[in-house]
Subunit: 192 residues, 2 copies
């Protein structure tokens, strides 16, 4: 039901980060590599019209607070859950981009043994990093010390994600390296 | 952000099946037993008003076709995915309640090693059954033979789910028995 992406001069440029991730998920799904979807925006529907001979029209609705992160699904039997964030900053990621309910959800997912992370894109360079939720939670809890995460810390604690055409954001290759390469799941989140 | 459920004379009566499941998921989450959420209804938003000093109002939007099932999340590290269905029939479950895109999604989830099933409530008796997606897919593919699943077959291939107050629909106890009791995950879907 989705229109094909407009042709771009350069992979990903002009598309939003979420559109690039959606395209990557569609690619993974079509190759039977993973089943990961963006969660729809939660909306409280108040009034709906049912015109004759055409589709129902929602005439009044309100945005509801999301209670989870942006994306979830299954890869190699494991539960995958992540939030996508983009920043125009060059040297750091401001923690005001992360919300309380997202951190609460990440804690719960880690508690249940799910794989949970944040994908961060630096808009200026197009670089994408995967940072495990455990690290993000630590930075979030230390906001009295620092209001943002230095890019050098993201480079150190996170993992670079390859970007290209198909898929645009190849985060599952990073997931493989981090969570599936070692014998113990999650054991590799600190090392690079 | 949700109003408390109205007091009910009898557990679950008067609540919709999905409300009962939502309440069960809230219970599981509060006890750190699982992180499972209903996916919001997908909506294509066309027009939004931003009135001064009050919340944004969606003035025009349309329902989009869902591409997945109703619920997903993580339990003991495993990916959990299910669809909830209720029928007023007494002796069978009509397969017209199951949609193509739901079956496609279930196939993909099973392919990735996720735990996938359908919860069926028989409205007249309040009985709830869990039937593994593999069985549901078989019945779906055999619609040229039978347009519905006999309740006796659901009793045979499925598992009864305990209902009560907290949680109202205790489907994780059934999940434990079916998917976590034996050494090989998924090995117990046929036996009772
Ligand atoms: Mg986001
Ligand atoms: Mg349903």
């Amino acid at each position: 039901a989705k229109a094909p992406a407009k042709k771009e001069a350069y992979g990903g440029r002009g598309m939003t980060f979420e559109q690039d991730i959606d395209e990557s998920n569609a690619y993974y799904l079509s190759r039977q590599k993973a089943v990961i979807h963006k969660k729809p925006t939660p909306v409280q529907i108040v009034k709906v019209d049912y015109p004759k001979r055409s589709a129902a029209v929602i005439k009044e609705a309100y945005f509801k607070q999301a209670s989870t992160t942006d994306y979830n699904g299954v890869y190699k039997g494991a539960y995958i859950d992540f939030e996508a964030k983009e920043t125009k900053n060059k040297t750091s990621f401001p923690l005001k981009n992360i919300h309380d309910h997202q951190i609460t959800h990440m804690r719960s997912v880690l508690e249940q043994g799910g794989i949970c992370f944040v994908l961060i894109r630096f808009h200026m360079t197009g670089e994408v990093f995967l940072i495990d939720a455990a690290h993000m939670i630590t930075f979030y809890d230390e906001q009295h010390l620092r209001k943002s995460i230095k890019k050098t810390d993201i480079e150190h604690f996170g993992h670079i994600v390859t970007t290209g055409y198909h898929p645009r954001i190849d985060y599952l290759t990073a997931v493989d390296q981090i969570y599936f390469q070692s014998s113990t799941k999650g054991a590799n989140i600190d090392g690079r």
